[in-house]
Structure formats: C-alpha cells, structure tokens
C-alpha cells in the first residue's frame, strides 16, 4: 500500500513563502544581512572600523572607501558592515528574550486560568502602564550603558506586549477539547503547555517575534542615537547616525548609508513577518 504522509505545517509554510514575491525579496535581504553578520571579518577587518586616520577624514565615497570616512577618518563601509552585527544582535537578542519570557507568561496565564490568570494579567497591566522608553532609560541608568544592558532593557519593555498577545492566542487553544483529552491521558501541566499549547500558537510566536525584531532594532538604534546603547567607538547604526548628524549638511553620506541599512533591515523583517502570517493562515491574505 502506498504510504501516505501529510505535509507538515513547516513544509506548507515553506511552499507558500517561496510563491510569495515579497517574501522572496525580504528573504533575499535577510539572507544578505545574515551573510554580512557571519562573514563581516572576511569582508573587511574590524580594525578598519575603529582605527582613526586624521589624514583621511571626510573622504567622500570612492573606490578605497566605498561609503567614505567620518571626521576621525574611520572607514564608513567597515563601520556599517560591523554595525550590522551589533544592530542585529541587539534586535534578535532582545526579541528572543522577550519571546521566551512572554510566551511562558502568556501560555501559563491562559492554561491555568482563574486566579493565576488574574494575577498575571494585573501584573501585565501595571507593567504596560509604564511608558516603555522611560522604563528602558531607567533600566540603563540603573545598570549602566553597554550592549547586554541594552538588550535586557529592550526585552523588559517588549515582554508584556508579547505575553498579552500570546495569552489571547493560547486562550482559544486552551479551551479546546484536545487539551482536556491530554489531561485525561495523564499528561502533566508542563507537558501540556509545552507540547500541546505552544505548538498550536507557534505561528503567533513567530509573527510576534519577527515584528519585535524590527522594532527592537529600531529602538536599539534610537538608544544608541541618544548615546545610551552601543558606546563609541563601537560601530552601531544608531550611533553612526548620531555622530553623522553633526556634519550631515556638508557630508550627507555620513547618515545616508547607516540610515539606509537600518530602514532596509526593518522593512525586510516587517515584510517577512507579513509573509509569515499569510503563510501560516492563507485565509488572511490581502486582508490586513
């Protein structure tokens, strides 16, 4: 007899993604960024991004300095390339922490319900009532500046929103009979949450995660722009924008390239997030 095997959701998702032109565009850019992150040292050594050369200051983009140099004579191309690492690290790092914390909190609230849910929701209410940028600034003020602190502060701000969304998604799954059925089979609380609830909301987790990554990258750059994220001489897009801002009227290329990378990255991730949502639920396509 012919062996029948249903397509897993991942295969279905993959098939839908490669038939979506916008998704292909977004994935191409993301792939390029990932390659840059991995091979940054091979493309151009890190030393070029931080070594100052006063003789070469304010060189316009040319064949030896593709993106020009800044007021200290540092190569802007090297800084942009190595800045990709920092920006994506901040974005993915904080979004991952927020996703893990948010999923745990949200799924637990939805699964246990009753008092547990009530307490968790009130805590989330309080958490979300604090303006996130202010809290982020306060945390950095408390912990000091640096990339790990930035990641933590950003994750702290993003967690309650994540938890809320996941709670809503998990709530509709938790009331279904197969959860009751798992209890009847003798599964433990942890197992039901991890094994039954999370896989059924994995699409929400991934979509939320993706949207969060782009938001966190932008927010991380904002912090660096304000001087609270990556510290000089670390190359970071937001920090580069802040430095370039002083001279952009005469040397607009100083803000053009990091700004372009930042915008393009956020755009690609957002488009990919949309494509993911369409891929998980084709019925939604073209609606939102």
């Amino acid at each position: 007899m012919k062996k029948t095997r249903g397509n897993s959701i991942w295969k279905e998702l993959f098939l839908r993604l490669i038939h979506n032109k916008r998704a292909i565009f977004a994935m191409a850019i993301l792939l390029l960024l990932i390659l840059i992150v991995i091979f940054a040292d091979l493309i151009i050594p890190y030393s070029k991004a931080v070594d100052q050369n006063i003789l070469d200051r304010f060189t316009r983009p040319n064949s030896s300095h593709w993106f020009g140099t800044d007021k200290y004579g540092r190569d802007q191309f090297a800084r942009t390339i190595h800045g990709t690492r920092i920006s994506l690290l901040i974005g993915f790092g904080s979004a991952t922490i927020a996703a893990i914390l948010g999923t745990t909190i949200g799924v637990a609230a939805a699964y246990f319900g009753g008092k547990v849910d009530n307490i968790i929701c009130r805590i989330l209410d309080i958490w979300m009532a604090m303006p996130s940028l202010l809290v982020t600034l306060a945390i950095i003020a408390g912990l000091g500046v640096g990339i790990p602190q930035t990641i933590f502060a950003l994750a702290f701000g993003a967690t309650p929103g994540f938890a809320r969304t996941l709670r809503a998604a998990a709530l509709s799954v938790a009331s279904q009979e197969f959860i009751e059925s798992s209890v009847a089979q003798g599964a433990s609380h942890g197992r039901i949450m991890l094994h039954d609830l999370v896989p059924n909301v994995i699409s929400q987790i991934l979509i939320q995660f993706t949207m969060n990554v782009s938001y966190m990258i932008l927010l991380g750059s904002t912090l660096s722009f304000l001087g609270l994220g990556a510290q000089p001489p670390t190359p970071e897009w937001g920090a580069m924008l802040a430095e370039g801002l002083q001279d952009y009227q005469f040397y607009p290329y100083l803000v053009m390239f990091p700004g372009m990378f930042l915008a393009l990255t956020a755009l690609a991730i957002n488009i990919f997030g949309d494509a993911l949502r369409d891929g998980f639920d084709p019925k939604l396509k073209g609606r939102a």
Binding site: V183, Q185, I202
Partner: protein, 333 residues
C-alpha cells in the same frame, strides 16, 4: 459476584460561579464491576458529563466542589494527589470525548498522538517499536497502520473518533469512560463505532461507562443502566429491568420510553415529557421531577424521596412503592 472496579458513594458536585451555585450532581451512588458496561442516560444538563469528569478528578479547579467518595480499586480518586492521578489517567481510566473534531491536536500526526500516551505510561521505547505498536492499535480500530503519519484534518469525523478511541484504549485501560462517543457522528458511522467498541470490550475485557442520551445505544450495548435526572439517579437496574415495560418504572423513565415513536403505529404527534429540565441553580424541593410528573401528589413536593429497591432494580419514587409491594405479593401467591 465479580470484583468491584469503581464505586461511587454519595457524590455531590456543585459549580460555584460568583454567588450562583449550580447543583450539578446531587448524591449519586453507583457500582461498576469488572468487565461490565454501565449506560448512564439522561437529558442535557442531567449531570452525566460532570459525573464522568469527577471519576477522573478533572472537574474545573476553580469553580467546582465535589463531595462524597469515588473509589477506584478501593482508593478515593477525589483525594488523590496530582502525580497519582497522572498515573491513573490514560493508563487505568481513559476517556473518549464527545466531539471528535476538536479532541485531536491539529499540529501532530495521529500516530504521534497515540504514541504519546504509550510513552507517557510505558516509558520510552525505540522509535521502530513505538511505530509498530501504534500501527497495531490503529488496526484494532480499523484504520490502516500506514495512515499514522497523517494529520487529523486528513481524517473524516468517524475516523477521527476511531483515532480518539485508539488513544483511549492504547494502554488497555480497566475503565473506559465514553462521553457520548457517537453524538457527533451520523447513524451509519455510529453503528460502526459501536460495533468496534463492542469488539474491543470483549477483547480487552474493560469496563465501560457509556454516557448517552440514546436509549437505542443502551439497549444494544449495556449490561446495567442508570437513568439520571437533575443530578440524581432516578432509576437503576439491569438492562432487562429498565427495558421491560411491564415492570414498575420511574415516571421519568416511562416518559423517555413514551417519547420514542413506535414504528408500527401511526403517530401524528410525538409524545414528549412536558416542561423543561430544572435550572440547576434553583432545583425544586422534594422530588426534583414533580413539576413535570403526571402523577405528582402534594406529598412529592416536600421532603426526601425514598429509594425503593427490588433485587438490583432501584427506583427513586414514592409512587412505585405500591407496585413493588404488589409484585412481591404476586410472587408470594
């Protein structure tokens, strides 16, 4: 006499939501022996599912209060710790749920879902062996073993119900609770599923608690019958006791049988029991059936109702007192 597997003693379950107290089960007692099939019959809201859930101690935590005892192998299920319960659930007692459409997890292949119970209760085993076991269990419920790699959405309703039954019987439970297993299925599939369950019962020698509101299923499937009304068992007996219409019955049972249309008689109108199931937050005093009972007297409106027993047949009604006595006299004469 055969061994007692399950004994429910004076079980009371209340649902408390805010200030509303809903009296779902009001002091029922039941015994189920090994290898027996008990049909629990009653209309919607009679407390059948609540009874079933209490047997597995799966009542919703925050809103329910259960009193009384449910002894499974002599141990009180209601007093068990979570880890003890987990060992029993799925292994010794398992449950088939009402709606096959939502009882399977949509993101796992059906084989994985059957394998899950096996590995939960029988420890880890090699992948090959697990696949083989899962295949055997699927074949038992009449599904080709090769279909274990399909997802629930690739199965029809009847097939899904078979898969759910397969999950329930995977560990050869001593007690299978079937909560209206055929309600969501059409008649031909119902017959198939019931036939299959009957075969399984005979081959596994499990006891079955069959919850249904279909007297036809009871007649073809059960050894004992309990009729539930408003959280009480109003009549209990062997299949013959209940279905023999010459015997004395509770007026509610009579009403149920009268409501079945007779194929040999032209029936212009069906003959329902008038009135509605009482609101469980405001149960009538005295006999709970009296507002709908054609024989109700003033005596029925107050006080406790006696349970009259004759052999294994018991009825919770004042009225049958005379008829039981009559029957005794006739026997003596």
């Amino acid at each position: 006499m055969s061994e007692k597997l399950l004994e429910i003693k004076d079980l009371k379950v209340r649902y408390v939501v805010g200030k509303e107290v809903s009296e779902a089960v009001n002091g029922i007692s039941l015994t189920l022996n090994k290898g027996e099939t008990l049909g629990l019959v009653g209309e919607t809201g009679a407390g059948k599912t609540t009874t079933a859930l209490s047997i597995m101690n799966m009542l919703p935590q925050y809103v329910s209060r259960a009193e009384g005892e449910i002894l499974f192998h002599g141990k009180n299920v209601l007093k068990m710790k979570n880890h003890e319960l987990r060992k029993i659930r799925g292994k010794q007692i398992s449950m088939v749920f009402q709606d096959p459409m939502t009882s399977l997890n949509p993101v796992y292949r059906v084989g994985e879902q059957i394998g899950e119970v096996l590995s939960l209760h029988e420890g880890k085993m090699p992948k090959e062996e697990l696949r083989k076991r899962v295949g055997e269990i699927l074949e038992m419920v009449g599904i080709p073993a090769a279909r274990q790699d399909e997802y629930p959405h690739q199965f029809s309703g009847g097939m899904k119900q078979r898969v759910i039954i397969a999950i329930a019987i995977a560990c050869r439970p001593e007690l299978l609770i079937a909560d209206e297993p055929t309600t969501a299925l059409d008649v031909t599939i119902q017959a198939q599923v019931l036939d299959m369950m009957q075969e399984l019962r005979d081959s596994l020698n499990s006891s079955i608690l069959m919850i249904t509101h279909d007297l036809g299923i009871v007649a073809s499937f059960c050894d004992k019958v309990a009729i539930m009304y408003a959280g009480e068992i109003v009549e209990y007996g062997t299949l013959e006791d209940i279905f023999d219409r010459t015997k004395a019955h509770h007026p509610y049972t009579e009403g149920l049988f009268n409501a079945i249309p007779n194929l040999n008689v032209i029936t212009p109108r069906l003959n329902p029991i008038h009135g509605l199931t009482p609101d469980p937050t405001e149960l009538p005093k005295g006999c709970k059936f009296h507002p709908r009972c054609p024989y109700a007297t003033d005596a029925c409106k107050e006080g406790a109702v006696p349970v009259l027993t004759e052999g294994e047949h018991s009825i919770m009604c004042r009225r049958v007192k005379d008829r039981f006595k009559q029957a005794e006299k006739e026997e003596q004469a």
